[in-house]
């Protein structure tokens, strides 16, 4: 029987890590992800896991140690947020290029400056092209479910890429919600043993990792890395199917909410989806055909699938909780509109930058977006690149 409990997002992710019982966890504290290494080091101190916990002196060293550990043949996990991941930056690219299936929970927080500890997605959005798989979760349950699935996805032989388990700082990480935990034994069976093919500690077959590449080889290596990201999509769906059989909870590349007949829709990531669903329910009562696409897998980006989901809409708002500061539009908006190009026409797509630095996103903000979309649908001219809830 699954275990029902009331836990915060960080607590439930730490419990998932306890159940996974990785070989190595190396981490450095940063708000709002700090609780994860705190809870986890207590598990280590209490002997309920047999993980080697490495309390490093910086996030750069955290990711470096994770790379060393994973290359050595150890299942390795970590957690961070915001500037912590900024400091890891160099190593993010090296981890993915070395094809190391590290799983990191990224508790989304605004990147400095100015210094701000609250939620937006500027941290993970900045790293969207670092070669990491990025999976986003709306609430505590999804953060838990995703981190468990991430192990299987990352370590699959057709993938071997690191995975970022992203969820919103404070809103998800610190809020206590009802969650359904899987029994320890079932998690253990689901993630299985980690048995890498090549690793540093295999004395029967020593290996050199992390070479200097000249122009004669670098391109082929990057090309192979790109192929792994393409292959990941299939694996993510296979793992989701197994997870559904285990728990009855269904996951895909994204979630469609009231999209069958939606004329106006918003595209969001993470916790804003909950607020948007509440607004959509209200609008539906008024006979407005509103819907939602909540992206779960942002890297690899589900190009075909997402435009299919949006193709019958008349007007769509892509909501970005990070600004690209490029005078053109946010990152998710750019990806969605690129996906549309040359394939679907007649769907009007606009962009809202919202919630930066933890600015609260209320139901009336989402209502405003839908009202704008209804006017856009009826022919009103609107700018493409918009800001929501900011004092101009």
């Amino acid at each position: 029987m699954a275990i029902r409990d009331r836990l915060s997002g960080n607590e439930v992710v730490a419990i998932a890590m306890k159940q996974i019982n990785p070989d190595v966890v190396a981490a450095f504290p940063i708000t709002p992800s700090t609780e994860i290494p705190q809870y986890f080091s207590q598990f280590v101190s209490n002997g309920v896991v047999n993980t080697e916990f490495v309390p490093v002196e910086s996030e750069h060293s955290a990711m470096s140690a994770c790379i060393g550990a994973e290359a050595a043949g150890a299942r390795t996990m970590t957690a961070t947020s915001s500037n912590g991941m900024s400091l890891m930056w160099e190593m993010l690219y090296i981890a993915s290029a070395m094809k190391l299936p590290i799983v990191m929970s990224l508790v989304n927080r605004a990147v400095s400056g100015p210094l701000n500890i609250h939620n937006d997605h500027s941290d993970s959005m900045g790293a969207r092209d670092s070669g990491w798989i990025q999976i986003y979760g709306e609430n505590n349950q999804e953060a838990y479910d995703n981190v468990i699935q991430a192990i299987r996805i990352a370590e699959h032989k057709d993938v071997l890429l690191p995975v970022m388990n992203c969820y919103d700082g404070f809103i998800t990480s610190h809020a206590v919600e009802n969650v359904e935990l899987i029994e320890d034994e079932k998690v253990k069976t689901f993630v299985g043993e980690y048995n890498p093919e090549d690793y540093l500690l295999n004395t029967a077959n020593p290996i050199a990792m992390g070479p200097l590449d000249m122009p004669a080889f670098q391109f082929e290596h990057k090309r192979q890395q790109a192929e792994s990201m393409k292959d990941a999509k299939k694996v993510i769906l296979e793992v989701a199917e197994d997870f559904y059989k285990l728990t009855g909870r269904k996951y895909g590349l994204f979630e469609e909410y009231m999209m069958e007949d939606a004329e106006v829709a918003v595209v969001v990531l993470n916790s804003t989806a909950g607020t948007a669903k509440f607004v959509i329910n209200k609008l539906r009562e008024q006979g407005i055909k509103a819907g939602l696409v909540k992206i779960r897998v942002y890297r690899p980006f589900p190009v075909e699938e997402i435009i299919n989901a949006l193709s019958k809409c008349k007007a769509v708002a892509v909501m970005d909780k990070a600004d690209s500061l490029n005078a053109a539009g946010g990152p998710v908006f750019t990806d969605i509109t690129s996906a549309f190009y040359g394939k679907i026409s007649g769907v009007k797509v606009i962009n809202y930058i919202y919630g930066l630095g933890g600015r609260d996103v209320k139901t009336n903000d989402i209502e405003k977006v839908f009202n704008d979309l209804l006017e856009l649908k009826d022919g009103k001219e609107m700018p493409v690149y918009n800001y929501l809830g900011v004092r101009e």
Binding site: D23, V24, A26, N50, E52, S61, A65, A71, G73, L201
Partner: protein, 309 residues
């Protein structure tokens, strides 16, 4: 067993020939001497910071390393290898790894004294069972001889050039060996490859087989940066030692022992004169700069002798 060069040289090479390091470079000589400190039957995982050593020994698809080897970046050999060592502890507990494996990191002075100092300090403080070896050539040689905090005062480098107004680097060297000693590690040593390599290989062996974190600082001259003729490598090292510019010592569980005391301490000018990077100091009127270096060398040598007690 007492050290014997013939016996030591019979050990299988763990850094294969054919790598791309320059003729007359101290680094591969130092690395091979350090690796001879390993028992032939023991396995090792070697980690290198980005630098000459890494790019010249592991250019895809070739590697000169007989043991498992990992390079990730410039400033993090300490952290990278601490992750490998953590993995070893975890997998050994689970009986997934059965062999004895030793962990050795190599970094130049750039990757160790400067950009990698935090990562090194963290790894040593956490007590990982590993040896960190700095091959100190006193500048960022891989990028073209820029100054580092290990560059001697008045050396001419590409970012501390000697000019009409400023006579080369303006600061004395950072004393990293003593900084590491003050981490209260079980074993810290300063050495160099010369003679029959007894000093370096014995210190390496001690470091490798001392439980816990150890640090060894090895003087590894660079013919391009120091501007000496490549056959003069060992002579230049010998002058660094005999002038007490680079004293040889070890600190074992807090006890300092100077492992070589020159019978006659030579003037530092002899060491400087052997190198093109100090050429400007020998112009008339610049004697005061050499005196300045001499008095610092004397001061540090006296301090070290006091430390030995």
């Amino acid at each position: 067993m007492a050290y014997n060069l013939k016996e030591a040289m019979k050990k299988p090479e763990r850094l294969a020939g054919g790598h791309k390091m320059c003729a007359g470079c101290g680094a591969p000589v130092a690395v091979r001497a350090v690796l001879r400190g390993l028992k032939p039957e023991d396995h090792a995982v070697i980690c290198s910071a980005t630098g000459c050593l890494e790019v010249c020994t592991f250019m895809y698809p070739q590697t000169a390393w007989e043991d498992s080897f990992i390079h990730t970046a410039f400033e993090n050999a300490g952290a990278t290898l601490s992750g490998v060592e953590a993995a070893y502890n975890a997998l050994k507990r689970k009986d997934k790894v059965k062999d004895e494996i030793k962990f050795i990191a190599f970094g130049g002075d750039g990757g160790t004294y400067d950009i990698g100092l935090q990562s090194l300090s963290g790894a040593m403080e956490r007590g990982h069972d590993m040896v960190y070896v700095c091959y100190d050539n006193g500048a960022y040689m891989n990028t073209g001889i820029q100054r580092s905090s290990a560059t001697p005062k008045y050396a001419d480098t590409t970012t501390s050039p000697s000019g009409d107004v400023i006579p080369g680097k303006q600061q004395f060297r950072k004393d990293l060996t003593l900084i590491m000693a003050n981490h209260h590690l079980p074993y810290v040593a300063q050495t160099a490859p010369f003679g029959n390599f007894k000093d370096i290989t014995e210190k390496a062996e001690k470091a490798i087989y001392t439980k816990g974190p150890s640090f060894i600082n090895v003087l590894a001259p660079c013919p391009r940066g120091w501007r000496y003729d490549t056959p003069d490598l060992i002579n230049v090292i010998k002058l660094a030692i005999d002038t007490c510019f680079w004293p040889l010592y070890e600190i074992e569980n807090g006890k300092c022992t100077i492992t070589y005391k020159p019978k006659e301490k030579k003037p530092v000018a002899e060491f400087l004169k052997a190198q093109g990077r100090f050429k400007h100091l020998f112009k008339s009127g610049n004697e005061k700069f050499i005196e300045d270096i001499q008095s610092e060398v004397d001061k540090r040598w006296e301090e070290l002798q006091r430390l030995e007690g």
